[in-house]
Every structure is written in structure tokens, then in C-alpha cells.
Amino acid sequence: MMGSLAIIWAIGRKDLLLEIRNKDVVVAVAGFALLVLVIFTFAIDLNQGNAKLVGPGVLWAGIAFAGVTGLNRAFALEVEGSTLEALMLAPISRDLIYLGKALGNFLFIAVAQIIVIPVFAVLFNLVVFRWEMLAIALLTTLGFSAVGTLFAAMSVRVRAREVMLPLLFLPVVTPLLMAAVESTSHMVNGRSWSDMAQWLQLAVAFDVAFIVVSAFIFQHILED
């Protein structure tokens, strides 16, 4: 068990090291999401009522669309250098490769959110620095990473991968996006944990289901 965790961490840490050097993914994700937020602040009359009404949707739509950009890039780097094959040569099970790559993607999207969410709070004048927001962000990012890593691996060898990934990814994460938007909406309207419990439970169920299923499917899509 510890050996498997060490492998997963090593892959995630390696992705993080490469990202620190290249800044390909975090800049793309954060930049795209910030752009969405800024455009909506111009497009909508952001009085307090409107901000609470549309803010959560704008935030998570921006992060979801931006996340696609980052997920595409994260896997493309492995394929361009054929390093995915080097990982496949190692005597480790394929699901560890999946979990390691998903960890890397989780870290990238999480870092991007650390940049995006404070900007969202300022632009929409909403109080989001709460434990509820941390829980929502963690669960949503986990689900994005779980699904996105699988679909990025599936689409990476396809010629039109930039088109293919969002076509696969966005419909599947719709339940998770709904949970994130509804939970955030409850939070900014000052409701309690119990009010958002059903949405958080949906996010937990989504995450568990997709991590297990994706890890299983991943090993089959790597083979020629």
C-alpha cells in the first residue's frame, strides 16, 4: 500500500515539477477562468442580488471550460515525448499511472483555483473564504481530475483532441457542475451545511464512482 502511494505521489510530484518549470497548465487554466469572470462582470449588472444569483454558475463554468484546456495539455506532454510509454514499461499497474496523473491534474486545477477564487470574490463582491467553499472546491476538483484524466488519455491520440476532450468531458461532469453550483449558491446565500448536504453527497458519490471506474478503464485504453 505504501509502495503504491509512493508511486502515485512520485508521478504527481514529477508533473508538478515540470509544471513549475513550464507553467503551461496553471497559466492556461487560471488565465482562461479569469477571462470568463472579467467578461461576465462587464456583461451583467453585478448588484448583490445578481452576483449571488449568477456568480456561482459563472465561477464553475469558467473553471470547467478552463480545466479542459489544462487537461489537454497535461497529457499531450506525456505523449509528445513518448514518456507515457516509459511509464508503461515500468513494473507498476496501470491504475497507479492513472492515479498519479489524476493527482497531478488535481494539483494544477487546485492551484489555478487558488488564483481564480479570490479574484471571483473581489469581482462579484461575495464572501467565499469559508470551509464550505474549501469542501466544494476540493470535491469538484477531484471529480474534474478523475474524469478529465481518463478522457484526456482517451483523446490524446486523436487528431482533433482539442475538440474531442470537451465533447467527452463536459457532458459527463454536468452532475458535478450542478452540485458545485448549487452548493456554492447555498453558501453565498448564507445557508447551512445541512442545506447543501445533498449536493455535497452527490459530489462525493460522483468522485468515488469515477475514480474507481476510471482507474479500471484506464489500463485498457493505454494498450495498442
Binding site: K14, M88, L89, A90, I92, D224
Partner: protein
């Protein structure tokens, strides 16, 4: 799980591999004893690289069976991958990591111990110790190939798979590669390699296998003596193309 007394490094029976409509391997049978250097010959598209990728477990066969040191590769993926070290066409390295960082990372993937000592000795063995803290991106293709070789040797595999290992190497590096292969063989390990530099390969190989139309066309256990026959078989395939 690996039997030390098993004499066959590789046993392939009726191996079939198709890519779509194209048949690459058509019922290939091959037995390679341990402790031998085998060179796979054949024209472009003969199936050499596909066979190596299958042995490296990067490509799955459509039918047939393959075992390495008595272990069925279909049932024991991680076990078999620990037995093999591979240097394929691409160096398969992280360009924005240093040589040391690459080797450290792959040492973790192979769960190796005493990693620092291992990296030091392996980099000296392949002659890259001076560039160990350079990023891979800054290395020539030949140096990258050597780093790939270091990665393949680090876990001391029973079977070394080399796909045109001399490509991109200068003559001194090719000599160094020959010494590594010879040293490897002297330890009772096996090497399977492909090459287009046929005459040189026949000098260092114990066995030459000419692939023809997805099967074994010629299997010589004395390549130096059978040089004319092997070259003729190889040339006739080339002319057939």
C-alpha cells in the same frame, strides 16, 4: 516466479498481430535461449519493432502466446516488465528534467534501493556522468539515447530490448554500446536488438533472426559463419519491397 533454471529468455508461439487490415506478425514462432545476443533483421515493415514492442509489453498481441523466463506475459504484466529493460526508437525522457531527475524518477517507478549509488554507477557505465545535472533538452540525440540506456539498465533486467540502439551514436559510443552488450551477456543476461547496420550486428550477435512477412524466415545460431546466407536473405527481402 522467475525460474533461474528456465533456459528460454523468450518463447513465442503462433503470435499474430494486426494493425487494422495490415497483418504485421502472422503466426510467429520463436525461441531465444538465455545468455544470448539476438539480432532481429528485416526490411522496414518486417515486424521487428512491433515484436520488440510486444516483448516490452507496449503492444498487445491478437492471438498466440509469449513467455519470458517461463512467465506468461499476458498474465503477469508487472513481473515481466521488471525482467526487461527497453530502449526503443524515442529516448522517452522528460526533456525539462535533468538526467539525474529522470533517473531518480524512473528508479522510483521500479522501486529500486540505493538509488544514488545506482545512478552514479550506471551513468559512468554509459558515459554520461559529466552531464548528469544537465536538462535532457540540452543533450544531443546520442546523449539522450545513452540516458535511455542508463534507465533501461538501472534495474538490472534479465532481458535487454534495443531498437536500433546505434542510431544517433558516434563510432566511439557504438563501441561503448558493444562493450555494454558484451558485459551484459557475460553476466548470463540476454539481449534482443534490431538494427539496419547488418554487418556490425552479425559480429556481436550469437543469433540472427531474419523476419520475413511476419514470420521467422531464417534463424541462424552462428551469424558470423552464416553471414552470406543472412545477407542474401536480408537483401532478397529488401529487393522484394
Amino acid at each position: 516466479m522467475v525460474s533461474q533454471t528456465t533456459q528460454l529468455a523468450v518463447k513465442a508461439e503462433a503470435v499474430v498481430k494486426n494493425f487494422g487490415e495490415t497483418a504485421v506478425l502472422r503466426g510467429l514462432d520463436l525461441e531465444l535461449p538465455t545468455g544470448e545476443v539476438t539480432v532481429l533483421l528485416g526490411t522496414n515493415g518486417a515486424g521487428k519493432s512491433t515484436l520488440l514492442r510486444i516483448l516490452a509489453m507496449l503492444t498487445q498481441i491478437d492471438s498466440g502466446s509469449i513467455s519470458m523466463h517461463g512467465v506468461d506475459i499476458a498474465q503477469n504484466g508487472p513481473v515481466v516488465r521488471a525482467l526487461t529493460g527497453s530502449v526503443l526508437h524515442s529516448p522517452m525522457l522528460y526533456a525539462d528534467m535533468t538526467v539525474r531527475e529522470n533517473l531518480l524518477f524512473f528508479a522510483e517507478m521500479y522501486r529500486l534501493q540505493n538509488v544514488d549509488d545506482l545512478i552514479s554507477s550506471t551513468t559512468v557505465q554509459v558515459g554520461i556522468e559529466q552531464r548528469i545535472d544537465d536538462r535532457v533538452r540540452t543533450l544531443s540525440h546520442g546523449f539522450q539515447k545513452r540516458v535511455a540506456l542508463a534507465r533501461a539498465l538501472m534495474h538490472d533486467p534479465q532481458l535487454l530490448l534495443l531498437d536500433e540502439p546505434e542510431s544517433g551514436l558516434d563510432s566511439r559510443s557504438v563501441e561503448q554500446l558493444d562493450r555494454i552488450i558484451e558485459n551484459y551477456k557475460s553476466m548470463g543476461r540476454s539481449v534482443v536488438m534490431t538494427t539496419h547496420i547488418v554487418e556490425h550486428a552479425l559480429e556481436i550477435a550469437d543469433r540472427a533472426v531474419v523476419l520475413n512477412n511476419g514470420t521467422v524466415g531464417l534463424n541462424s545460431t552462428n551469424p558470423a559463419a552464416d553471414k552470406t546466407e543472412i545477407l542474401a536473405a536480408y537483401s532478397s527481402k529488401a529487393n522484394d519491397q
